[in-house]
Symmetry: C2
Subunit: 876 residues, 2 copies
Amino acid sequence: MKKYVYMFQEGNKDMRELLGGKGANLAEMTRIGLPVPRGFTVSTEACTSYYENKEVLPEAIEKEILKSLKELEKITGKTFGDTKNPLLVSVRSGARASMPGMMDTVLNLGLNDEVAKEFAVTTNNKRFVYDSYRRFIQMYADVVKGYPKSAFERHLDKVKEDKGVKFDTDLDAEDMYRLTADFKKIYKEIAHEDFPQVPEEQLLEAVRAVFRSWNNERAIYYRRMNDIPASWGTAVNVQEMVYGNIGSNSGTGVAFTRNPATGEKKLYGEYLMNAQGEDVVAGIRTPSPISSLETEMPEVYKEFESLAKKLEDHYRDMQDMEFTIENGKLFMLQTRNGKRTASAAIKIAVDLVKEGKLTEEEALLKVEPKQLDALLHPTFKEASLKKGTVITTGLAASPGAAAGHIYFTAKEATEANKKGEKVILVRLETSPEDIEGMNHSEGILTGRGGMTSHAAVVARGMGTCCVSGCSELTINEEEKWFKTKDGKIYHEKDAISLDGSTGKVYDGILETEEPSISGDFKTFMAWADQRRTLKVRANADNERDATQAKKFGAEGIGLCRTEHMFFDKERIFNFRKMIMADTVSKREKALEAILPYQKDDFVALYKVMAPNPVVIRYLDPPLHEFLPTDEEEIKKLADDLNVTVTEIKERIASLKEFNPMMGHRGCRLAITYPEIARMQTRAVIEAAIEVSKEGIKVTPEIMIPLVGSVKEFTFVKEVVTQTADKIIKEANVKLSYKVGTMIEIPRAALVADEIAKYADFFSFGTNDLTQMTFGFSRDDAGKFLNEYYEKQIFEQDPFARIDEDGVGALVKIAAEKGRSTNKKLSLGVCGEHGGDPASIDFCHRAGLDYVSCSPFRVPIARLAAAQAAIKNGGQL
Amino acid sequence: MKKYVYMFQEGNKDMRELLGGKGANLAEMTRIGLPVPRGFTVSTEACTSYYENKEVLPEAIEKEILKSLKELEKITGKTFGDTKNPLLVSVRSGARASMPGMMDTVLNLGLNDEVAKEFAVTTNNKRFVYDSYRRFIQMYADVVKGYPKSAFERHLDKVKEDKGVKFDTDLDAEDMYRLTADFKKIYKEIAHEDFPQVPEEQLLEAVRAVFRSWNNERAIYYRRMNDIPASWGTAVNVQEMVYGNIGSNSGTGVAFTRNPATGEKKLYGEYLMNAQGEDVVAGIRTPSPISSLETEMPEVYKEFESLAKKLEDHYRDMQDMEFTIENGKLFMLQTRNGKRTASAAIKIAVDLVKEGKLTEEEALLKVEPKQLDALLHPTFKEASLKKGTVITTGLAASPGAAAGHIYFTAKEATEANKKGEKVILVRLETSPEDIEGMNHSEGILTGRGGMTSHAAVVARGMGTCCVSGCSELTINEEEKWFKTKDGKIYHEKDAISLDGSTGKVYDGILETEEPSISGDFKTFMAWADQRRTLKVRANADNERDATQAKKFGAEGIGLCRTEHMFFDKERIFNFRKMIMADTVSKREKALEAILPYQKDDFVALYKVMAPNPVVIRYLDPPLHEFLPTDEEEIKKLADDLNVTVTEIKERIASLKEFNPMMGHRGCRLAITYPEIARMQTRAVIEAAIEVSKEGIKVTPEIMIPLVGSVKEFTFVKEVVTQTADKIIKEANVKLSYKVGTMIEIPRAALVADEIAKYADFFSFGTNDLTQMTFGFSRDDAGKFLNEYYEKQIFEQDPFARIDEDGVGALVKIAAEKGRSTNKKLSLGVCGEHGGDPASIDFCHRAGLDYVSCSPFRVPIARLAAAQAAIKNGGQL
């Protein structure tokens, strides 16, 4: 028969999958002889059985729990439900990974009216017993039954108020007794039944509640945000109570072995005397810093200090511990690797290596790559932040902190910024036309759109702070104001501040500070670079981004989206002229006017990136994205081009598509209008010649987008090589360039062996590839994806983390087929996945050569690539 | 060294790939001893070399041609360019498959001024020689140089007019001489150079011209229409001239061994005395029927009759022959399998089996499946058609003939038809709202949209005649008129006739006749059914289509699109109510009102199809397709639902999608609104119970559309089985049903092993699968696909013929993976490809179980499936 319940003494820290993090660590502490109250863990497999059994706890597991309870009674010498020497327990959830979204803790379980009555006599401490009982009722109601805490808390406040005292500790035994009676009454009012009196029933209900909580909404959301599969399940820990609330030489606290904010090597934490666990966090009384314990209970402090060191040395990582002091005796209730800020994480990792406790590889695995982001962006000064008033909260779309004056159009934002003002661009949603304004803004706020909306994607690319989807705000772009939920109105030029790392929007100007990249960071990243086999390039469309990327360690540009270059005010006119042209020669003339600009762009990029490669993707989006949408702009364009408004409108209408995502774009444009590809080739090659004449090494890599069949590729490649080779020959220079393709259409992956015969490189455009493989567009999927997460059809956002089974399968097919016909084929990823650690791990396993991501993701990608190399021990 | 040129005596009929059809048959006739003028064939490989060599004829090939010419001189005893005994040749193109789009024939090549002069003397027939020369100049100019024939023809007409004669034969030697001189002058005017006098140059130029013609626009178009790959290339046949124009006991003609219109076993053809080849087709003089030859030249006729029989017996198929009589001696110039009408094809195939000349398998391979279509639709009576005036030509979108009075809205068409009027629905383009009107129309004409537009697809499904994309017409739906290119205006109720097989639109009412399916057809199809292993089902959404399908031999319904059922006037209101509902219970109420209708639909389908299976696809299109689009309808809906117009408009706006193809549709709807799937399940199961109580066998197969991941499928399947099993249990009956899925999202194919664990069947929705795999939408691809065909990036329309390399690869992956986890998995195709013979061949090879196509394609699919089985000798 399968075993579902383990006594602490049966487990160890490596049984995390079975016992959960908390259970495994309790077992480990027991094993290495720390003072841990005894108990047992109901395994994660029991949770899985519970769900497989249609959310009914199988009888066999119930029996095993009760059997383990007997065992616990035996080793503690206490008896569950016994009135003289009762065994009381805590019940805690504990998944493999720590999950704040789930049910947490019920203390003092096992108490009922009779036990309490007698226990008060035997302990001679009525106050302690009823303090424990009233806490139990409230926690059980909240955590097991899901009834609101507030009803109980309001009543407690009233009792304190009536008595004219401030703290729980000021209530005496009789107060606690009455409070218990009142709490039971409140419980009955809400539950329509009496508070359960059978301890075994209390226990099994609590276990079931923990299992149920695995699938509550918050837990599902948290799992999705943190890549935790639903199949893992949670364990339940049942542990003998020790009492921090039994008197004034008892207490409870939490502490870290090092400072989790700075990484400083010094105990950090706080504690409360005469209290139980939740009091410390609840903030009813102000806890004392852990250092005070040294004077208050020097012996206990000394023991704790030594245990903390023992634990850190044992786990070889900074520990986050909970402890309770019962009548002067120290008990350890939990230990785990402590959460820490990014800078602390780096400092601790580097320090642990210096202290000889970790190898460099181990240290690299200790830091969550995504955390690094926090080190790269400005933040609000702590003091300023504390004073700030939050006016709304949106999605934390692009990290950083920004403060400035609001403008409602890209044009006005640009103008204000050019006059030296710091501006925040506020839009319902942004479109490619807003690029310039976004570029001139400190931060961007949008009313609509999710984490992958235009604003979010572009802002992340730029490294500009962005809060998107502030749906509580009413935004009136025309009248230039927005209204908060509370009815406060902000007009143009009013000041606000955005925190793109939390999604919070503040009133007024908050002070920001620039990130300081410490020496530890450099050391750490150097270790990462030594281990990784994947190269890391950046997606950058202009000199600013390229410079940023290089600063962050990018080894080339993996994606330069040339279309972004066309939105510049001076160029868009000629580009529109090109679109409006009805003959090849008119089109060529308009393109001729863009050529010098485009060439300059490339000159700048080459110079910044030299000697690393620059991948230039040819025009990709459908032409209608470049045409104006509002009447005024249309009128202006008509005047400029000397045609009628009707003609412009007809052209716009003729370019309208039912499914623009699947329309006339990518290489399809270059096939219909080879003159565009010719102009772009001229710009790429002429710029390269110019730069190389200065003695700078240039390697342009021309990338054809949206290829689905080999002949599309060879057609455009022919246009490119004919143009390029002619220019190179005429210039009488030596210049090599590459021509490759995006793999972003499922068919391209399936016929990759054919394409690879002619292509120098493949770059997986996993954004589009994900859309096409799943058959849904990012813009529209928002309407149903939430249901998908709620109903657990999807656990992950496939646009954030690569879908290995589907999209990944195509990537592998393409890589394998491509290399089968072209041994030298270079393979990379340039979708958003290129900056996602889990996806980077996949890229490593799939044997790709590089990932390319937005500049601010480069350090993340470098670390993730190193972790992938370490974890997988080389390519699979 | 590779051999590029073959003398006729070196080849045989099996060398078609190398020598082309014409060349192989000339060699074969030579081989079996028929009187064939001698010659040689420049192979298709020479054509390929020509293109590989950047459209320059490689010198080696030129040399080989001239060497073969020497050989020809040797065996004929004539010399090229010799003035006394000149060798003149014909030059003809000849690809593997006959291709009318290409260059055809140049006769009398080798003539020049000197040769002509002397040859007139030696033959003592100046008229003959200059008749030949003037013909040569015109043909060379036209065929080799691409200069217009009209300049020459106009001049010839003028000469005849001046002389007051009607026929060429009335011109004498001097006339011909002058004509030749004039033609040379005209040539020079156009070409700005003299007519070439060097025979070898004439010959090589002609060969190059044939190779060039392989890639002219018409040839590319023809290849695409007929599935001929560009890589095949064409051969060139160079043959000693024999002269049908040498005098009155000479002549030329064409004949079939059987009647190509009816299949009757009797020589059929016509000839002209004193003429060269092109005169017969040109229609300058009226040719005589072949039977006249029996009296005119009985010996020659007898010989011809015997040769014809010999050829038919040899090729075991009806032959289409060209012959020339030179001074009473018969020469065979060409033989090939004759083109024939569908009914002739069937009769000849069946007769040849009866005559013991073919096996049934061979006979089945003789009929082109697509031809059968002509046997299933009404046609115009020959006499009526001859009198008809074509007012415009559109795309032959759905075959058949229809005559009626025009209406410009679906509503008015319906009403008129209900009053007994035959109507033609004329629309700019149709939308799903027009379904009822389309159903009530004899034929449909649209101004926009291609072969795969809504009108075309739906009309083909209904078997209703449709001419789409009549872009020459100006259609004003609001004012109810259309205007032809010539300015003629047709108003509502005016009469027109449509030929959906040619795309022609006629003025007034033409008489139609119903198809008569002969006994031979039945015999033939029975042979097909015995051989095929693929089952053939039909796509049918209503009783009418299902009945039609059954009549044509469908073995079940492979796709019933339930959404079509919702467009009915009485139902759409409730469906819209459902869409507008803001709570589940309101939605359920609206669905409840639709249930009885939907149930009735299924009852009818089950009864027609019993005992064969009926596959019912659940709601697929995005909801916005069901909402009204014009103001009036919106107002009406608002009134009916007792909400404001604004509310309706807001709902419409909220349902708007950027890329509807990749939006909230298919199973995504059933996941968001499980109540829709529940209602549909009730209808499916309750209808099945009702019908099975009558003792009729029912096998409903429920199909979930647009599944991309296994959890989507299991979620909806759970909704289905819970509902269905409850109803079945309550009804206390035995009823089995299946639940399967469409495979139409690339990802579904990649994870098919997972899905197959839970699915009873897969049906490949190759329309959507093609869109997603290529990443372009059918609606938008029209804008660039023409360029793709012109630039030879695509040779085939992937929506018409399955793309084996991409889409087919996914089908194979899905089939293999699916069967790996579910041995009983049934596999079918229900996209438009299910009715395309080449795609059916692929389905057979991929090991699918069935194809499903529109009712009128069922016989085609049956034959194609039989051919696939015969050709592939069972499953691969």
